[in-house]
Symmetry: C2
Subunit: 193 residues, 2 copies
Amino acid sequence: MRVDARRNREHLLTTARAVIAEQGPEASLNEIARQAGVGPGTLYRHFPTRQALLAAVFQDRVETLCARADDLLTHTSPDEALDLWSRDVLAHALTDGGMSTSMTRDPAEPGFDCHAAMRSAATGLLSRAQREGRTRRDVDVEDFFQLVTGVALAASELPGGLERADHLLAVTLAGLRDRDRGGTAGWRSGADG
Amino acid sequence: MRVDARRNREHLLTTARAVIAEQGPEASLNEIARQAGVGPGTLYRHFPTRQALLAAVFQDRVETLCARADDLLTHTSPDEALDLWSRDVLAHALTDGGMSTSMTRDPAEPGFDCHAAMRSAATGLLSRAQREGRTRRDVDVEDFFQLVTGVALAASELPGGLERADHLLAVTLAGLRDRDRGGTAGWRSGADG
DNA sequence: ACCTGAACACCGTTCAAGT
DNA sequence: ACCTGAACACCGTTCAAGT
């Protein structure tokens, strides 16, 4: 890669980060290019699609979340780890709006695949919570992501911010817990139907 | 209202219904006007904002859902009524994509206020389920709507359709149920913490 | 009183022409 | 090999001019 190309790419990313931070993930690509001082064609050369740009912009945050998942995996109990990580994901999704779509949408980006990374991190936490915790076994990683991003999407459309979103997430996570498991004292199977 | 104005309004609505049905709620307003055979200014005169147009387009479906709520209110048990209605709302939201946003967003439209209508229908079902059923008392109507539309928004971004969405909704509704209530046999308070 | 449609400032995207 | 930026076909929205 030529040196000026590399420099352009870098500068585009920095600019995109700033513009997206204040205008959201639907920010105009032309404007990002303009603020970066390059032609629109240059932006398209480096990031052929908006998703590609968003993936690059959010890469480090996704990596942070993945590291956090690893940490929780070894230091926290199965169900609690899943809960805590969900809250982290939600917080990030609310802060930089586009991340939820970056996580949900599938196109494997050349270079860095946000979705694959998140999916892998989530799989570890979820399957452990299902194996050793009290988490329902009839939800897969896709389900789990959709539930969390669903809360994020809905909450980002209305005021109330993280506080409200946290409450909604708590309800959702309660639904994720299996009522037919983990019973020790005085619990009888079949009480629910 | 002049007779040609009324005719134009009618024709715009019919066209909008068709175009939105096949292109989704983000369909071009100019194109709707074009297909209706009027200038864009005429569309804006009748429907000053996209939300206003969507509200008019979805009015009858909202009214159907409200009637259904009334029906469930008098013919079905509190918790089941809430579940069934949620599924109806979800199905409608998935079919005509924009309805979820029409429901969530607040601007009181002159003429017909989708959000107010839905909110009123939901309040009846939810408060009854909280009073006489086993539904958590720490969620309000706004929370309830955000959860349902959240599932709809997330599910509409990925394939899988109503079947998948239904599964996600089931998880969410499970979270809506209060574990500390409705117990008759062998249940001890405080078992969960 | 209502409709009209040209016009404006934007958008995403492409591609011949440059260096 | 990479950048450039004019150009294209669109978008939402407005508003003077018509009837």
